[in-house]
Symmetry: C2
């Protein structure tokens, strides 16, 4: 993909592919009644900054604010995602919406980024979310499975459409499982520190890893030894969880207070319910993996989280991520309580990958198949022929000027148009037109 | 249409209609090989301001510039149209493009506007243009007819789709005819002043009009009297031109040097060629009117110009305008010479009108027709039924929680879902499901 000053730009072949992608996305979002909305490209800064506040927000987020001679400076900024605008939207129209409210939104968002592959300063997100008011507490856990299912189905169709030999693996987790496990070990206060160590696991040796954990956990007054605790954490990080074995996590805690264990059991059973419904809906077991360690970067979410990566140049790139969140309008209005679940597809990033991988030559060309040659003497009859061929669905173009034949043929050649159609006076007399194959040079007469 | 701080916002029913409009637009643009491109939402200021320069550009244009902590202030702005970005695009990729190059572009643009009906600070334009290098001078007049034809066909389909009882009248002119006429009268130096008077014609009495013209033309050294000259101008402004009678304009000049008359003849014949080809392509004569006075506000164009208005609250609103332009990249690169012809459809303005006029109630609803009730005991079978119905194309939704039946029914009621489907244990035993009509209350058993 071309980047103009870090903003992406699409040429005809690419834009046609993008439209094909959006057609698939829209079809799937609609099929499950996630109705489309569109919000402005800009939001008031007080909305965009509500979660962070203070002066540093635009540094953190890389937001572009707008300035205009006639308006207050810095009153609006381009939105950096579609979730914050949606939160504002829900509050603005809450009286008119029926909850649970399912919406989809496909729009560009803008973020300040260094210029590099896989990142763009302007990119398309395709989001769906379902949200509800927490007037009476309901889990609506079914929706977690539904959105994963839509996501899976959508990417599957896109991969097939462009003959990408890619398997979709959805990484799924429930954020509460790891905190529940650490909590059940009695190490809740050390949670952040332990997370940082575990985050580095892949970069250090097993020995270093153990030593760092011991260091972090040492100063404790628990019943079992530090070494024992650390061993449990190591076992946890090595545990390859799946639907059948994930209950074992509870046994791995060992002795703990009943309440902590019940909490952990609850989060595990939540994840299993989501998985079970997903299997029932569409997704094969092999396409969804429990990954107890996808947490980072998804700080927005509070329960189920899911992410899909593609490998590109030995690096993993997320092409979609989502999850469940609680109380997502609280920064804009303390009195409301809305929760939901949803995801974003990173369309522009996926296209970055796609345009590099796919054989653009083999894709649908943006040119016609037939060029009708323009002769001044027979322009009326040629235009009639053009109209007739065009109405029967032929991919036909009309040369705009009764120019030298050589020049008209050159135009066809340059654009890769396969046939030129000639209707000159002597053809008219015979009541035929001539179709010239530009590749072979052969001509054929066809009756008018 | 809703306006959030003057920027438009679409609710589900409206966004679905917008997508239907874009489907029609894209289909027609593609049919004539105007291939889609997409440029960033922003351009560098030096590109946007090239035509105007100086300090005042953002006041004139109402542009929003972007500011960002990490970048130079005021380096980029949101584009205010799609023509300037396209000029930059043509220069950037000229080596790769085959000319004449036909492109379409459907994107949002941003302009500072006071908040009012019919105007929005953010709106969609749907443009097509064909451009060519003026290495050897070619008129490519055919394209003027082609783009008018596409425009006509597109709006016709849109009007039909939404049952709008509107007739499309395309106002067409060639800007050179009026200047040619005034020039042939020998009044070229007075052209601007005369135009201003004529512009006010509708607002003043016939007597005042004549007096003002006399005032402007008096100080001359021509052969015929001022009164005679003024009478010719009055005759011109009263002349209702059409394809058959427009040649009379030449006679209306009277005595003049041969070259001036030949020039005027040429522009008239240019307009007639465009009309004739348009008739040959698609458009009925009654749908296209010569309007010798559409000039204002279209200062960009140099030859053929065309515009379509709708009447709304006794005011005429342009819903599309276009024309032919020469040398449209000269502000960005003096060495190039590109000319072209194209138009913009003002989609957001048209929607403003449409959403007010159309009966939204009668339009496609954004909800499903069937709601499958969620029973905890039979969730597996219910989900299977949901999958099966959904795969056969039924508009079906699944309630996300095994909640009180009353609440599930209420959700269907609120969303206007017509049928609820129940599959509880006793239904399973009988191997049926119950379909309850929410309007009549009647139930029916259907075999699984």
């Amino acid at each position: 993909m071309l980047k103009v000053w870090g903003f992406s730009e699409l040429k005809p072949d690419q834009k046609i592919i993008e439209e094909e992608i959006f057609d698939i996305v829209k079809k799937n979002y609609r099929q499950f009644w996630y109705t489309p909305i569109e919000t402005p490209g800009v939001e008031r800064n007080e909305v965009l900054t509500a979660k962070w506040g203070g002066e540093v927000w635009n540094q953190i987020l890389g937001v572009y604010w707008l300035a205009q001679w006639a308006s207050d400076l810095k009153k609006y900024s381009l939105h950096f995602d579609l979730t914050v605008p949606f939160a504002r939207y829900v509050l603005d129209y809450r009286g008119e919406l029926t909850f649970p409210f399912k919406r989809s939104q496909i729009q560009k968002v803008w973020r300040w980024e260094r210029q590099q592959r896989g990142r763009s300063r302007e990119f398309y997100q395709a989001d769906i979310d379902v949200i509800w008011e927490e007037l009476e507490w309901k889990d609506y856990l079914f929706y977690d499975s539904e959105v994963i299912n839509i996501w899976y189905k959508t990417y599957l169709e896109i991969f097939e459409k462009f003959n990408l030999n890619l398997k979709i693996k959805i990484n799924i987790n429930n954020k509460k499982i790891i905190s529940g496990f650490i909590g059940a070990l009695g190490l809740w206060e050390k949670f952040t520190e332990i997370s940082i160590v575990i985050d580095n696991k892949e970069k250090i040796s097993a020995e270093e890893f153990e030593n760092k954990l011991i260091e972090v956990c040492r100063d404790n007054s628990w019943i079992i030894s530090t070494e024992e605790l650390v061993q449990k954490i190591i076992d946890f990080t090595n545990f390859e969880a799946n639907y059948e074995n994930i209950d074992k996590l509870v046994n791995m805690v060992g002795n703990a207070d009943l309440q902590s264990l019940q909490e952990l059991e609850k989060w595990i059973s939540e994840l299993k319910t989501v998985l079970k419904n997903a299997y029932l809906l569409w997704i094969d077991k092999e396409n969804i993996i429990i990954n107890l360690w996808i947490i980072r970067g998804l700080d927005y979410y509070t329960g189920t989280i899911f992410e899909t990566f593609i490998e590109w140049d030995r690096k993993l790139w997320s092409i979609a991520s989502g999850g469940r969140y609680e109380d997502f309008t609280k920064h804009l209005d303390k009195k409301t309580k809305f929760s939901g679940v949803g995801f974003s597809m990173w369309i522009t990033r996926f296209e970055d990958y796609l345009f590099e991988k796919m054989d653009m030559e083999k894709q649908a060309k943006t040119t016609s198949e037939y060029l009708i040659i323009n002769f001044e003497q027979t322009i009326e009859e040629s235009l009639k022929l053009y109209n007739n061929l065009s109405k029967t669905g032929k991919k036909v173009e009309f040369f705009p000027e009764s120019d030298k034949l050589k020049k008209q043929f050159r135009y066809a050649d340059n654009k890769g148009i396969k046939y030129c159609i000639l209707l000159w006076e002597w053809e008219l007399e015979k009541w035929v037109y001539t179709m010239k194959n530009m590749e072979t040079g052969e001509s054929e007469e066809i009756s008018l």
